[in-house]
Amino acid sequence: MDNKHLKKTRKLVISSIFYVLFVTLMTTTVTYAWFTITNTNDAHLVSNISEIEAEYEFFAYQNINRDGSDELTLTDNICLVEGEDLCYLTIPNPTTPFLIDGSAAPGERYSFAIRITSVNNPIGSLKLDFGGLVSEGYNIIENKLQTAFYYQVDKISYLNYGVETEDLKDSLGIVYHQGFFTYDNDIFYPFVSNIPMQNEENVSTLIMIYFNFYFDPNIYGQESDGTPYTNSNIFMNQIFTINDLYMSVSN
C-alpha cells in the first residue's frame, strides 16, 4: 500500500468515526428530548429533570350556583370539608380531567386556580398552555360544545412572606390570552407566558394563576347549511374535555 493510499484510507476512517459520533449524539439529543416530554405524563407532581424544577397544585372553585369565583385568593379560601361551597377545592394530581358535577348550561362560569411552587430557586419564567380539546355528541363540527366556551385569566399573583400580592397580570411583562376555543381539536392554545418565577425581591415564591371558563349564552351554533340558530339548544347532550394543561418553565 503506498503512502497516498494509506493517507486516503486514514481520512476515510476518521470521517466515518466523525459521522458515526455525530449521528449518535444527535440521536441521544432527540431521544433525551422525547423522553423529557414523555416523562411529563407520569403521576408525580414533581419531575426533577434538571436545575429547573417546579411543582404545582390545581384547584377547582366550588360554587353550586355556577357563577365562578369573585374571591380570587387561595388564602383562607381552600375547602376544608367535603361539600363545602364558595371555596377552592384541591384536586390532587390531576392525571384525568376533573369532572364538573352535574349538567352545564349557558351562562355558567367555572373558576380554577393553579399554585406553582418554584424549587431550587430557579430564575426562569413560567408558561401555561391548553391542548387536547375534545367535544363529543355534536352533529357538525361548528356545533362543538367547546366553541361556546370562553377562557379568561382573572388574576396572577405571588405569595410573599405569606401575603398574597395584588393582581399583577398586566405588569412584569406577563403575557396572557383570552378567547373562545375553536372547533379544531389540534390547536394549541397559548394561555399565559413570561411569568417570572421570582418576585421583585428576587426571592423564591409561590405563583397563583386564577382563570375561568365561561359558557357563553350568546353562542348559538348553526344549521348544516350555515344558518345560525337563535338559541343554545344545539349544545345540549354534549361532553367537552380539556385533556391537557401544559406547564413549562424555561430560562
Binding site: F22, T29, I52, R66, S103, E108, M236
Partner: protein, 215 residues
C-alpha cells in the same frame, strides 16, 4: 489530523452543550384539566299522583255562599268544602340548574282558588292551620268583595313570584297546594250551577338558571 481533531472536539462540545442546555432550559409538565357535560332541562309536573300536561279538569266542586260561608263563617265548613290537590314541580337528576315560571288562567268567572306554597323538597311550609285562617288573613282589611278577591289574586301571584326565584338543582321539587271553591254569586247563570264547568289552565316555562324567565 490535528485540524480534524479540533473540529471534532468543537462539534462534540457544541452537541453536548445543546443536549444539556435543552434539559436545563425547559421543564414541562402536562396535566389534565376538566370535563363538562350538558343535558336537557327536564321538568316533572304532577297533580297529586297524576302526570299533568296543561289543564286540570275540576269535578265535584263545591259551591259556597261567599258571605255566609266565608265572611260570616256561619257553617264552619269552609275547609271541608274546598277541592284541593297538590301540584308538584321538579327537575330530573340530569337536568341543569333550572328556573321555572308558572302562570294560572281561569276561563270562567265563579271560581275562587288559592295557591299555597306547600313544601320544598318534602319539607312542609306551614302557612296557617286552616284554609279559613289563611284566607281571612289575606282579605283582612279589605271592605268590598271585589277588593277581597283582588287580595286573593295578589296573594296567588306572590306565590307564583316566589317560584320564579327558585333555582332548581337536580331532583329538587316544590309543591303548591291548590284549593278551589265555586262561588255561586259570581256565576253567569247561578241557577245552572250544577252544570257549571271550570277549566283552570296553567303553563310552566323553564329556562336554565342564568336565563331570563318571561315576566
Amino acid at each position: 489530523m490535528k485540524h480534524l481533531t479540533v473540529v471534532m472536539l468543537t462539534i462534540l462540545i457544541i452537541t453536548v452543550a445543546s443536549t444539556a442546555t435543552y434539559a436545563w432550559l425547559t421543564y414541562v409538565q402536562i396535566k389534565s384539566l376538566s370535563t363538562v357535560e350538558t343535558h336537557e332541562i327536564s321538568i316533572i309536573l304532577h297533580a297529586d299522583e297524576d302526570q299533568v300536561f296543561d289543564q286540570i279538569q275540576l269535578e265535584n266542586l263545591a259551591f259556597i255562599d261567599y258571605e255566609k260561608d266565608l265572611i260570616q263563617n256561619e257553617t264552619n265548613t269552609f275547609d271541608t268544602m274546598a277541592s284541593t290537590w297538590i301540584l308538584t314541580l321538579g327537575t330530573s337528576e340530569e337536568s341543569p340548574l333550572t328556573k321555572s315560571h308558572l302562570a294560572f288562567e281561569q276561563n270562567e268567572p265563579g271560581l275562587i282558588y288559592l295557591l299555597i306554597y306547600y313544601s320544598w323538597n318534602g319539607e312542609i311550609v306551614l302557612q296557617a292551620d286552616t284554609l279559613f285562617d289563611l284566607i281571612t288573613t289575606i282579605i283582612d282589611g279589605y271592605e268590598t268583595k271585589e277588593e277581597q278577591l283582588n287580595a286573593i289574586s295578589a296573594y296567588n301571584q306572590s306565590v307564583l313570584d316566589l317560584i320564579d326565584l327558585i333555582v332548581f338543582f337536580p331532583t329538587d321539587y316544590v309543591q303548591i297546594k291548590v284549593a278551589a271553591w265555586g262561588d255561586y254569586d259570581s256565576l253567569t247563570e247561578p241557577s245552572n250551577y250544577l252544570n257549571a264547568t271550570f277549566n283552570l289552565s296553567f303553563t310552566v316555562e323553564s329556562v336554565n338558571s342564568k336565563g331570563e324567565l318571561p315576566s
